[in-house]
């Protein structure tokens, strides 16, 4: 680990990608993502990789897929409207089981919406990647440092499970600056023998027929094989629930009230919790770090004899994360929500007020 | 001496080879192959000059030419 430096969120997560061995980036400028594309336009070639400014997000994600099929650690970054355009290929990548990393620097609302930070792509990314019901690993870091750390290991996970990885930051985290420590450089592995990689064929290797729909297998028909192979995919997803769930419990040991939040909302909630604790109110935070797999068991285990009330905090109107959380919470625990939309941030003072109302 | 060999399993009986044969010695068979196509067959084999035009035209790579 090197010394602390001050970095803008978008630049920091891109630098972490370079250090993780990413050597291909394609993107299309969109606020609040642009500083990521600008940064990698010079940083990627400097690191010996390829940068392409694509003609659209549609192209950008397809270039990433192409590079992944060349055995390269490839990524893109975008924001909501761009992610909408990418969903077709996210579906294809989930079907092909292609490892690649997509950063969604969320902005607010539907359509053009607003260009400031928000958490309103939660459903879109966690429910399924495009059409077809397949999924990928989805992370929701709360700080620039955590987004660096997650980015740094994202391809290791993507390659281990052969899956796209989505990292959900937002306009706040992308544009702000704070102190971070950058990890050392690491080498990407040689992926040329992987079944999803074409070209660089060694003597005697059989051809790779890389398809987004796994028609081949032990079954008599294509449909049966598709079903069979998707069931195999499902086992992989289920293994994530056992092995890859990540979350943080902050000041939860003696907590009587709980805030449940992710990403930027969670870090704001931490300030509120500190202030509330100073006033003698025992509040803690449960923070999902993985959005897929979602920490269902951990939420289900919240003890109704200990916790008097829960407040969910998110930057999305209508609520999304709240609805997901409520689903897993013991029905005897009262769950309230505080959320801001339209690109407005949640504020610690307002969280404090909401918690006090629950007392 | 020349001959063409038509792979009955590959031929779909499209007949694109018929019209390009300068000796007009390719035609559809009476029989059908496993897929139900009246595959192409050569008549008057002795007239074949191994010009390859039929094989070049064949979309299904069903024709081999010998000389």
């Amino acid at each position: 680990m090197s010394e602390k430096v001050v970095k803008k969120g978008n630049e920091a997560i891109c630098e972490a990608a370079i250090r993780a061995g990413c050597r291909f980036f394609s993107g299309y400028p969109i606020t609040p993502q642009t500083t990521a594309t600008e940064y990698l336009s010079w940083r990627m070639p400097e690191a010996g990789g390829v940068f392409v400014q694509a003609e659209s997000e549609v192209s950008a994600i397809n270039m990433v897929a192409g590079s992944a099929m060349a055995g390269t650690r490839a990524m893109t970054a975008t924001s909501g409207p761009g992610l909408s355009l990418m969903t077709e290929t996210l579906s294809v990548m989930a079907g092909t089981r292609l490892p690649a990393v997509i950063v969604n620097i969320q902005r607010a609302g539907a359509g053009i919406g607003a260009i400031t930070g928000n958490q309103s792509d939660f459903y879109m990314v966690t429910k399924t990647l495009g059409h077809g019901g397949l999924t990928g690993l989805v992370y929701g870091p709360e700080s620039i440092q955590e987004s660096i750390d997650i980015m740094y290991e994202s391809w290791d996970l993507a390659e281990k499970y052969r899956t796209p990885v989505i990292i959900m930051t937002d306009g706040v985290m992308g544009q702000m600056m704070e102190q971070v420590e950058m990890p050392d450089y690491k080498e990407a592995p040689d992926l040329s023998d992987q079944p999803y990689v074409a070209g660089k064929r060694k003597d005697g290797r059989k051809k790779h027929l890389i398809m987004d729909s796994p028609y081949f297998g032990p079954m008599p028909t294509q449909n049966d094989n598709l079903e069979y192979n998707y069931a195999e995919y499902e086992k992989v997803y289920e293994s994530w629930e056992e092995n890859e769930v990540r979350y943080e419990e902050y000041m939860m040991e003696d907590a009587e009230y709980l805030i449940v939040a992710w990403g930027t909302s969670a870090r704001v909630a931490k300030t509120a919790i500190r202030h509330l604790r100073e006033q003698g109110i025992k509040v803690g935070l449960f923070r999902p770090i993985t959005l897929v797999p979602f920490p269902k068991k951990q939420l289900q285990a919240i003890d109704k004899n200990k916790i008097k009330g829960i407040l969910t905090v998110e930057m999305s109107v209508p609520s999304q994360f709240h609805n997901e959380v409520v689903h897993y919470i013991d029905k005897d625990i009262k769950v309230e929500k505080y959320r801001r939309g339209g690109g407005n941030m949640v504020l610690d003072e307002e969280i404090e007020e909401c918690v006090k109302k629950m007392l | 001496m020349a001959k063409v060999e038509i792979d009955v399993n590959y031929c779909k009986g499209c007949g694109l080879c018929f019209g390009v044969c300068p000796k007009n010695i390719l035609k559809a068979s009476e029989d059908v192959n496993a897929k139900g196509y009246n595959y192409a067959e050569q008549i008057d084999a002795e007239k074949c000059t191994a010009c390859k035009l039929c094989a070049i035209m064949c979309p299904d790579a069903a024709i081999s030419v010998y000389k």
Binding site: V58, N62, G66, M69, T89, H208 | M1, C58, P59, S64
Partner: protein, 243 residues
């Protein structure tokens, strides 16, 4: 007797699933033959996107990968930039290349990506059952232009090769046809030239191949070549456009 012509070893040991008289088979056969002649049959990679082109991977011995409909210009760019030494063919239909993927096609051409596009132009959407394509001829009946393609409202057939030839970056742009043995040989020469450019000096090449879709044209395969000669090639003249 000596065998002077047979199936290329770069073709898989299964018959194609294309309809009788479909010239996808011809184009794939030519690509296989050229790969053998250039000694790249173990190196060549093909992109086989949505449309009947998607089947190609199953019928060749090359590595191949799929692409969402219209996106080979982008997937190919990502692949080739990361694997600059691997020869690459984007094997696309006209709906894929000239309609849904027009942006990807034009921008890849404009960047001068170092790969070869082979576009099969049969003037219809084949896989989905013969709907109108941007290449459909004026007055041509399809399942979505039952009264014949009307210029008013649907425009004129897009001559993609001409559009691409207008760009500065492409090194070689040509339109060939697969309707006679002579044209097939010329098409093969064009594919070979395009790959040689890609391998030797580097640069974008575009080979449009006029093909028949007898099933959706509702025409006897045997009659397709004459129709192509008399009608189709009037709208889409063959020949080199650039390079």
């Amino acid at each position: 007797m000596e065998c002077i012509y047979t199936k290329s070893k770069a073709l898989s040991a299964v018959p194609t699933s294309f309809c009788p008289g479909c010239m996808h088979g011809t184009a794939i056969k030519l690509i296989a033959e050229v790969s053998e002649e250039l000694g790249i049959e173990n190196d060549l990679v093909v992109v086989a996107p949505i449309g009947c082109a998607v089947f190609m991977g199953a019928f060749v011995e090359f590595d191949s990968f799929g692409s969402p409909h219209g996106r080979p210009g982008a997937t190919g760019t990502g692949f080739k930039r990361s694997n600059p030494d691997v020869p690459l063919i984007l094997y696309q239909g006209d709906g894929d290349c000239a309609s849904i993927g027009l942006a990807e096609t034009m921008h890849a051409a404009n960047r001068g990506e170092n790969f070869t596009v082979v576009m099969i132009n049969n003037q219809v959407y084949g896989m989905t059952g013969g709907q109108a394509a941007p290449t459909t001829l004026p007055g041509q009946k399809t399942t979505t232009s039952p009264a014949g393609r009307a210029i008013e409202g649907t425009g004129y057939p897009i001559r993609l090769a001409e559009l691409i030839a207008e760009l500065k970056a492409p090194k070689y742009v040509t339109r060939q046809s697969l309707h006679t043995p002579k044209n097939v040989l010329a098409a093969k020469k064009a594919i070979k030239k395009a790959l040689e450019i890609q391998i030797n000096e580097g640069g974008y090449s575009f080979v449009e191949l006029m093909s028949a879709c007898p099933t959706n044209w509702k025409i006897d395969p045997k009659d397709a070549p004459k129709y192509m000669e008399d009608v189709v090639l009037k709208e889409f003249p063959v020949g080199d456009l650039k390079g």
